[in-house]
């Protein structure tokens, strides 16, 4: 089952215009669908009022999981399952476990964060994401509104908004949800 949605978007020539436009949109209480930029624009998330990413919380949990896995497995293997004496050290020798614990913490945290990030963003092999305009990966800055369920006067209002905020181009496109 495929659903389509109508998107009205404006393309800006530089990020200063874009930032001004977002501020105006926020003041007019227009509901922004999303903003697309060819490079990370500093201060954009503040202006858009996005909340802080929670990805690092996932990172901490995965890291802690890595620490526990490494310490747990090594302690079990070297004290219960197959005790071997290395260099006259005791079976449970914590300093020797630390490097592997560190590595596994980093490994779990990094892979876990990548997988979480890809899952949340709906990215992955074979996934086709709709793109509004190919030039937003090059030199255009895009501000998009969803127009499904809006009446004509509201859509006209959005078009007026693009005109007043110096958008270089305004287009509509229907993309799959």
């Amino acid at each position: 089952m495929k659903t389509e949605k109508e998107v009205l978007f404006g393309l800006y020539n530089d990020e200063v215009d874009l930032m001004k436009a977002i501020k105006v949109a926020k003041d007019d209480h227009l509901e922004i669908m999303d903003v697309y930029t060819p490079f990370p624009v500093h201060g954009l998330d503040d202006v858009m009022g996005l909340s802080e990413s929670r990805l690092h919380i996932a990172g901490f949990i995965f890291g802690a999981l890595g620490t526990l896995t490494a310490l747990g497995v090594m302690s079990w293997v070297f004290t219960r399952d197959w005790p071997i004496i290395f260099g006259g050290k005791p079976y449970f020798s914590l300093p020797a476990f630390i490097p592997i614990t560190f590595e596994l913490t980093v490994l779990f945290a990094s892979i876990g964060m990548v997988v979480t990030f890809y899952t949340i963003c709906g990215l992955g092999p074979g996934v086709v994401n709709p793109i509004l305009d190919t030039r937003i990966t090059d030199d255009k800055f895009c501000l998009a509104f969803e127009t499904d369920g809006l009446n004509t006067s509201e859509v006209d209002n959005l078009k007026r908004f693009f005109n007043t905020t110096a958008a270089a181009e305004v287009h509509t496109k229907s993309i799959s949800n």
Binding site: H56, F60, G87, G88, K89, P95, A96, I98, P99
Partner: protein, 430 residues
């Protein structure tokens, strides 16, 4: 406010700290004469190394930032330069220590004993004789006092260029010349600082050596320098100076404290683990002393220099909030002071009769056995743990450090407006 004024109140405060320091040092000297006033001299060396190192590494950090085309630090440039101005004062302390070595005022260094490298002499020590081309009294003068003065030349040069830039004399040429001198200082300073730390600290345990020692101490200096910088920024902000230094700059300083704390732990642990794993007697003796005789400090060191800053500064907001950043900065500053305490005190404590009963005659050379350690109390203040006199001595040095830094800060404008990266620093966004 464009210009920092060193007010009477601040002067009084730092002078009071200095007076406390002098009184504590005098009392330590008079009341504890064991091992040629070992408690006084170890405290003196400890704080000299710590504060000189902070001055050195701050300047080093400034060079690294400038050469890496960094912009955010530019608002703090004057402050960091002022930190560097403590270096010549450090040279005076090491001159005193050198005089102490040649005049036998102290016996901090085993290698400085008479006849230690002379075959057939009663003090002859084969291992130290082998190291005597490096560990001798003239090399000590060159590689401590000489090196500090050498670094000071760079500090003075960069400072005068930075002042020239303030007057607007030929901006680009000044900037290029600054980078030229900094580019020379970076490799030279990095390699020579290793000699400085080998001579001043590592040679206390003259039989022992670790190739990671120079890294490890630099990491310790780095954390304490960043912590002190963060505290200065918070203080100056509170006084109404440098209002442009905001949350984002503090965030970066917080990241530095966090990152260098982790780096310190990495080096500290590597040094420990390699020695623990290899289990070579002449190497493990260093950690054997610290793990057994200095147990509390050994684990406290790891706790307040790694675990606490790591978990407290992990979140974004704690890195810039004044309360949490200030708390961690004070904690790691003290923590790394303790780290240097741990580098210096054990070597003297275990090899010299610091209690003064035997007048240090069986002194350096062999480890005093635990049993023969004339019923010392379980925890001895000033050795296994810093006592009030150690804290007082540290406050004295801190007072002097504040005095020198604030004087230097008041002698030039707070803002380096002609720096090419000044504008970037104003709009810093992390």
């Amino acid at each position: 406010m464009e210009q920092f004024t060193f007010t009477g109140k601040q002067k009084t405060f730092s002078i009071v700290l200095m007076v406390i320091g002098v009184l504590c040092m005098a009392y330590t000297y008079i009341a504890y004469d064991g091992g040629h006033h070992a408690r006084f001299w170890t405290n003196f060396l400890h704080n000299s190394v710590f504060f000189t190192g902070i001055a050195f590494i701050s300047f080093y950090l400034l060079c690294a930032h400038t050469l890496a085309y960094s912009g955010w630090h530019t608002l703090m440039k004057r402050l960091i330069e002022s930190f560097g101005m403590f270096l010549p004062v450090g040279a005076i302390f090491f001159l005193i220590l050198w005089f102490g070595t040649i005049s036998e005022w102290h016996h901090l260094y085993h290698w400085a004993q008479e006849g230690i490298a002379t075959l057939g002499h009663e003090n002859y020590d084969r291992i130290i004789a082998g190291k005597s081309p490096l560990l001798n009294k003239s090399m000590y003068l060159i590689l401590t006092v000489g090196l500090i003065l050498f670094w000071s030349l760079f500090v003075m040069k960069i400072r005068s260029l930075s002042k020239a830039a303030d007057r607007g004399d030929n901006d680009l040429a000044t900037y290029k010349s600054t980078k030229f001198w900094m580019a020379i200082f970076m490799p030279v300073g990095a390699f020579t600082s290793a000699f400085f730390i080998w001579l001043s600290v590592m040679s206390i345990d003259a039989h022992w050596y670790s190739t990671m020692f120079a890294w490890y101490t630099s990491a310790s200096w780095l954390v304490s320098a960043c912590a002190l910088l963060a505290l200065f920024v918070i203080y100056l902000n509170g006084q109404g100076y440098l209002k442009e230094l905001n949350q984002t700059h503090r965030h970066d300083l917080g990241k530095y404290i966090f990152a260098f704390s982790v780096f310190w732990t990495y080096v500290w642990f590597d040094q420990f683990m390699l020695i623990w794993y290899a289990n070579v007697g002449e190497e493990t003796i260093y950690f054997n002393t610290r793990l057994n005789t200095f147990k509390i400090l050994f684990f406290l060191n790891l706790g307040i220099n790694f675990l606490l800053p790591f978990f407290i500064l992990m979140r974004n907001s704690t890195k810039w909030k004044i309360g949490s950043l200030g708390f961690v900065a004070i904690m790691v500053f003290f923590g790394h002071w303790l780290d240097f305490f741990m580098m210096i005190k054990p070597g003297i404590y275990t090899t010299m009769d610091v209690h003064g009963h035997g007048h240090g005659d069986h002194g350096h050379g062999e480890l005093i056995s635990e049993a023969g350690h004339h019923a010392a109390p379980m925890i001895e203040l000033g050795w296994q743990l810093p006592g009030l006199l150690e804290i007082g001595t540290m406050l004295g040095f801190l007072g002097l450090f504040l005095f020198v830094v604030l004087t230097a800060l008041s002698r030039a404008g707070l803002y380096t407006k002609n720096d090419p990266y000044y504008e970037e620093s104003l709009h810093h966004h992390s």
